[in-house]
């Protein structure tokens, strides 16, 4: 909530630390330190200080000047050189910095004994690290340690270098050395952690753990342990070897006193006993914890799990048939009953929820008494029903109820609500809970449309009526009843899905926009809106909403899934670029600093955090989003540069001609990707990144769509998709090479080009496999679609992948046409078939996309992808063919006059140029029509979808309530701020923003198409004979 100055693990901080510390080395008699008092790196401090100050105040030019002067005076000072390297690096002169730093290192090696000090080494280390040369930093320290054996300060520096390089074995070796020299507990623990890391994150065998245990035992025998964290490492070590009994005994012995908080100790004890199979003993311990912390839900679960022997979180196996369920569960009931009496605090949810959990378990074990569970739910509702967390707390119990009872429950709950005439916070809270439960139970999907409209009306009215409750609240505080508008939106979106009437969608947007006008901080509204705007082809508004969420730092990993996929398929290429770069910057920065933070944990003796940090970094490195972003980021660069063959080539070159991603692709399956996106905050209609119910026909997805999703299948689909995309850059590269080499007439069956062809073929095979087909089958399907025997529907959501495939396939196939391929296999695809396929697809999409306002959905984004992907790659391939056909002197001249070299070009290439031109022209024409429509007409069209016809349950009722609110707000006591906000809200503004945002999307797309037309125009000119 309240922040303080940020702590930054930054190099300057380290430099300053040395300044402030008064040169730590001097305090250490073992340290061979050149500097006497007032010396820094062998130079009098007063001479160095101005350089430090200049660096601190970021005056790097001045710092450089000062450091040059310093060097003139101390030409043999490695420290002075290192400082210069540091300044150069800060100025962004990386190469120069590296060369100076290497000089400093060489000088260090040459220098006399007394000039090696920790300050010089750490400065060199910082610069090498920032230049991505950790190995050089390590070798500096290795050299120093070799020169001054047994110097702890230097050894710690070396240990730190190994931490940075994640060299766990070397860490262990140096830590053991330090332990032998100093006999300190901390060094032993450093070694033990390094061993654990070898087993958990490296390829060390589990036997190593025995070694670590032996080391610790020996130390304990002679010195005992003194740090609580050391004890927890010891226990974790034993747990990793399944020595639960031993661990438990140690915790009960003298060492146990190191853990000072009693409940913490008990929790560990309970866990160890349970894992050792002593369920009774564990249950007893968990009882003790519950007496101390009666609200501890996790502990109650463990308690019940031990009693019933079925707690999977403690790896207890399935309960044995011998346990006497009835007897044990009644024991649990008695315990909870006593707990309630002892606690005598009725504000704790714990005991109430515990009763519900007991009833749930009874049902699970066949002691069906749903009536009792429902009764308990109602009791619990009357006590805690007003709390915002109620519905989520009881979610798991609702699932246990048979469906007929769920309806009964709703009827009973509504009777419990004390609906006195005056608005009250508690009553409102209870109603909201009731609505949430209705939503959770999910029977809304089977109710008639009129009922749903009724719900939306009811909730909106309730929001308006209860605004007075919040009249004294600060704008920063959540208002009472804010959830009502989110729930109204949920119902309206369902109505849209059912009826396909866009008026409901517009109403959903209006409701949320009003909510944001009243209080602009409600992130729940923003998330819903960004999805609605994305769906309705208004990505600029979606992006704006996303930006207002202020997603930064680690939230980029968990929250940006809301916007990434839609933006990647939009025409806002610059904004996507910003998004992707911002995310990658965050992740890469963290990977760079993570090891330093791990070392910080070592230094502060918080050993358990050492392991945690390393595992966390690995988790992020294996993030599927991180990988996707890296690949999509590169594809995006290709899309953005697609019009200039030279620029595409330079992008491809920077990607090692696409080969880097091939390596990634082949590693994905062994890497075990992590999925860190927090999907819980997604709207019901799009529970995961690749699913949007609204795009399909209406179906009853009652109750938890999220649970219907097959997780393993989803993971597989994501992995396949990443693999597919990672092949793209290489295929683009190879396709252009293959196609143009044929034009040049230098395709060499036995030479380099032949290698390209066979590599492309093998990639085509892999790609087809990822699409679920063998190469010949994939080609057959493609051909039958191009001949109109099958519709594009067969490609389902992989349309773009298939068309990309077609483009690359054609490029490869040229080889077989023109060289009578030795592989004896040609496919019936050629320029004409390919263009025909693309043309058909574009026409289809144009027809289904328009008019945009009345047809939300993904068609426009597919059209954008068609142009920015397969069409772009094809243009690029054609460009490259044309360039190859030109005499070398003329290659760079744009629009050069036609000459006889064109004869080398096949008719196919020439025809494709005009065909491509026609395709893009068609899209451009359509876009122009859309863009030229008067804005006001579009607004009128949108608003007309809300006009209520008499005796009709169509959209418009909710907006009507909002409009009435605007008109009557003066009569309500809602406070000046809310009053002003509501009066400022106008439906027409919402509609105008929508229309404008769609216009922006179209205009951006238009300019992409126009630039392609220009390129094609030039090509046309070039290929004319």
């Amino acid at each position: 909530m309240e922040m303080e100055m940020e702590i930054e693990i930054e190099m300057l901080l380290v430099v300053r630390e040395f300044k402030r510390d008064g040169r730590r080395c001097q305090k250490n008699p073992n340290c061979i330190m050149a500097s006497k008092f007032g010396m820094a790196g062998g130079i009098p401090e007063r001479r160095v200080r101005p350089v430090w100050d200049a660096i601190d105040s970021r005056q790097f030019k001045n710092a450089l000047k000062l450091s040059t002067a310093l060097l003139a005076k101390y030409p043999n000072s490695s420290y002075a050189l290192a400082l210069k390297a540091l300044i150069l690096e800060r100025m962004g002169k990386m190469e120069e910095a590296l060369s100076v730093c290497i000089n400093a290192k060489d000088l260090l090696y040459k220098n006399d004994t007394f000039l090696i000090d920790d300050l010089t080494l750490s400065t060199l280390q910082i610069v090498f690290q920032r230049l991505d040369h950790l190995d050089m930093a390590t070798s500096c320290y290795e050299y120093a340690c070799g020169k001054f054996p047994n110097n702890l300060e230097l050894m710690m520096g070396l240990f730190n270098c190994h931490v940075r390089e994640y060299s766990f074995v070397k860490q262990q070796q140096i830590a053991i050395k330090m332990y032998k020299i100093a006999g300190e507990e901390r060094f032993l623990l450093w070694a033990v952690c390094s061993i654990q890391l070898q087993v958990l994150c490296g390829n060390g065998g589990e036997k190593l753990l025995q070694l670590a245990e032996g080391l610790l035992k020996k130390h304990i025998a002679s010195h005992s342990l003194h740090e609580p964290e050391a004890l927890s490492v010891y226990i974790s070590l034993l747990e990793q070897q399944a020595k639960y009994r031993d661990a438990s005994e140690i915790l009960s012995g003298n060492l146990g006193s190191l853990i000072m908080i009693e409940v913490d100790k008990l929790r560990i004890q309970g866990r160890l006993l349970a894992r050792a199979g002593d369920f009774d003993g564990a249950a007893e311990i968990f009882q003790k914890v519950l007496k101390l912390c009666p609200d501890d839900w996790e502990c109650f679960h463990h308690y019940l799990g031990c009693l019933l022997e079925d707690d999977c979180s403690l790896s207890i196996l399935v309960n044995s048939p011998s346990i006497q369920f009835d007897c044990r569960i009644s024991k649990a009931s008695d315990f909870v009953e006593n707990l309630v009496k002892e606690v005598a605090n009725d504000s704790l949810r714990g005991p109430g929820l515990a009763n519900l959990e007991i009833e749930r378990r009874k049902i699970m074990y066949g002691r069906v008494n749903a009536e009792k569970l429902m009764g308990d739910l109602i009791i619990y509702f009357s006590r805690f029903g007003h709390l915002a967390s109620f519905a989520a707390d009881v979610e798991v119990f609702l699932q246990t109820l048979p469906s007929d009872m769920k309806k009964q429950l709703l009827e009973k709950l509504v009777k419990c609500i004390d609906s006195s005439s005056t608005p009250s916070k508690n009553v409102l809270g209870q109603y909201i809970t009731f609505f949430k439960i209705r939503e959770l139970i999910g029977d809304t999907f089977s109710l008639p449309v009129e009922d749903l409209v009724g719900f939306a009306v009811q909730m909106t009215e309730m929001y308006c009526q209860n605004l007075t409750l919040s009249k004294d609240l600060d704008v920063q505080e959540s208002m009472f009843g804010e959830e009502l508008l989110s729930m109204t939106c949920n119902v309206l979106v369902q109505l849209f899905w059912r009826t396909k009437h866009v008026g409901y969608l517009l109403e959903a947007i209006m409701v949320l926009e009003l909510g944001l006008t009243v209080r602009r901080y409600v992130w729940q509204y923003k998330i819903l809106l960004l999805h609605l705007y994305s769906y309705w082809n208004a990505p600029p508004l979606a992006y704006e909403r996303y930006k207002s969420l202020d997603v930064k730092n680690i939230l980029l990993e968990t929250v940006s899934h809301h916007i990434f996929p839609q933006m990647l398929t939009s025409s806002l290429l610059l904004d996507v670029d910003d998004l992707l770069k911002g995310y990658l910057r965050f992740m890469d920065d963290h990977f760079k600093e993570s090891a330093d933070l791990t070392f910080l944990a070592y230094r502060h003796r918080n050993y358990s955090k050492v392991i945690e940090f390393v595992q966390f970094k690995e988790r992020l490195q294996r993030s599927s989003q991180y990988l996707t972003t890296k690949i999509e980021g590169s594809i995006l660069q290709l899309k953005r540069k697609a019009n200039s063959i030279e620029e595409v080539e330079s992008v491809l070159e920077s990607l090692n001609n696409g080969s880097d991603f091939l390596d990634i692709s082949s590693e994905i399956r062994s890497k075990k990707l992590t999925f860190n996106e927090d999907l819980k905050l997604r709207p019901w209609w799009t529970p995961s990144l690749d699913k949007n119910y609204l795009s399909g026909p209406y179906e009853d997805i009652s109750y938890y769509p999220r649970q219907n999703l097959d997780e393993a299948k989803q993971v597989e689909a994501k992995v396949t998709s990443i693999e597919k995309r990672s092949l793209l850059p290489r295929m683009i590269y190879l396709s252009t090479h293959c196609a143009s080499s044929l034009i040049k007439g230098n395709s060499n069956i036995n030479g380099v080009d032949s290698k390209d062809f066979s590599e492309l073929k093998s990639l085509l095979e892999s790609y087809a496999k990822l699409l679920g087909f063998s190469l010949p089958d994939a080609v057959d399907l493609l051909i039958s679609v191009s001949h109109g025997q099958k519709s594009f529907e067969v490609f389902s959501s992989n349309l773009i992948d298939w068309l990309n495939f077609a483009v690359f396939l054609n490029a490869w196939n040229l080889n077989s046409h023109e060289t009578n391929s030795s592989e004896g296999h040609t496919f019936p695809i050629n320029w004409q078939v390919l263009c025909c396929l693309l043309e058909q697809c574009i026409s289809d999409k144009i027809t289904s996309t328009k008019p945009l306002l009345s047809s939300p959905g993904s068609d426009l984004s597919i059209l954008i992808q068609l142009v920015t992907e397969p069409l772009s790659w094809l243009v690029f391939i054609v460009q490259s063919c044309v360039r190859s056909s030109l005499p070398s002197g003329k290659k760079k001249k744009k629009g050069c006059p036609p000459d006889q070299s064109n004869s080398q070009l096949s008719k196919g290439v020439k025809d494709s140029v005009s065909s491509l031109f026609n395709m893009i022209e068609k899209v451009t024409k359509w876009l122009k029509e859309q863009i030229d429509k008067p804005v006001d007409a579009d607004i009128d069209f949108l608003l007309s979808s809300l006009h209520i016809e008499e005796n009709n349950d169509g959209p418009g009722k909710v907006v009507k309530i909002l409009e009435t609110l605007v008109l009557s707000v003066d009569d309500l006591e809602v406070g000046e701020r809310v009053n002003r906000a509501i009066r400022s809200w106008k439906p027409v503004d919402v509609a105008r923003n929508m229309v404008t945002a769609q216009g922006t999307t179209l205009t951006e797309f238009f300019s992409i198409c126009e630039s392609k037309l220009k390129v094609l125009q030039t090509l046309k000119h070039q290929v004319q004979v």
Binding site: M1, E2, M3, E4, M5, I7, E8, I9, M260, I261, D295, D296, W297, E298, C299, F300, S347, L348, R349, G350, L353, A354, L387, A388, S389, A392, D393, E395, V396, D474, Q476, E477, S478, Y521, W523, L549, D550, N553, I554, L555, T558, V559, S594, L597, T598, L600, A601, H604, N606, S608, K609, E612, F613, Q615, F616, R619, N676, D678, K680, L681
Partner: protein
């Protein structure tokens, strides 16, 4: 129903519903991890059934002599779990650790002078305004340094309010 336990790195991937709230700052990684690496006992998370993150507290212990104190850096509760006295529970936990384990003299925290609801809450938890820090927040808004004495400060000297406001430069600790 609440389980309070030590915060761990994986919780950073689960706290989005808490941190999307505009009053809760999402710091950079080194900030969180420095706290975890140095003061893991001062960083706790509260979980609801279904392992949903309800809120968390982060803090530290620092100072010399009689200034040895616990500090609350951030305490936050998701909107869904407000009005359940969770912030109080988390604060009490940090106070307990400062008092019993680290034997600190007092606990302090900084709050925006305009954040009346928070100030009121801290006052209910027995914190007093010790001093005003001029333009503490980005050089714009004043901060209030609020303190609560712990058992080691028998005479409650640590919380006697200062008569004049101080500037950020005069603060003993960042």
């Amino acid at each position: 129903m609440t389980t309070i336990r030590r915060f761990c790195c994986d919780d950073l991937l689960r706290f989005s519903s808490v941190n999307l709230d505009h009053l809760t700052e999402t710091f950079n990684m080194s900030f969180y991890m420095t706290y975890l690496a140095r003061w893991p006992d001062y960083f706790h998370v509260a979980e609801a059934p279904g392992n949903r993150v309800m809120g968390y507290i982060m803090g530290k212990v620092e100072g010399q002599g009689e200034s040895w104190h616990g500090h609350v850096t951030a305490v936050t509760v998701a909107p869904e779990f407000r009005r359940q006295q969770l912030a109080k529970k988390l604060m009490n936990l940090l106070e307990d650790i400062s008092d019993k384990i680290d034997k600190a003299y007092f606990v302090d925290l900084f709050v925006r002078a305009s954040n009346t609801p928070a100030i009121k809450m801290y006052e209910k938890l027995d914190y007093v305004i010790y001093r005003r820090v001029l333009r503490y927040y980005s050089g714009e808004e004043d901060g209030l340094d609020m303190r609560k004495a712990l058992s080691r400060d028998v005479d409650r000297k640590s919380i006697i309010p200062l008569k004049r406001p101080v500037t950020p430069d005069e603060l003993e600790y960042d």
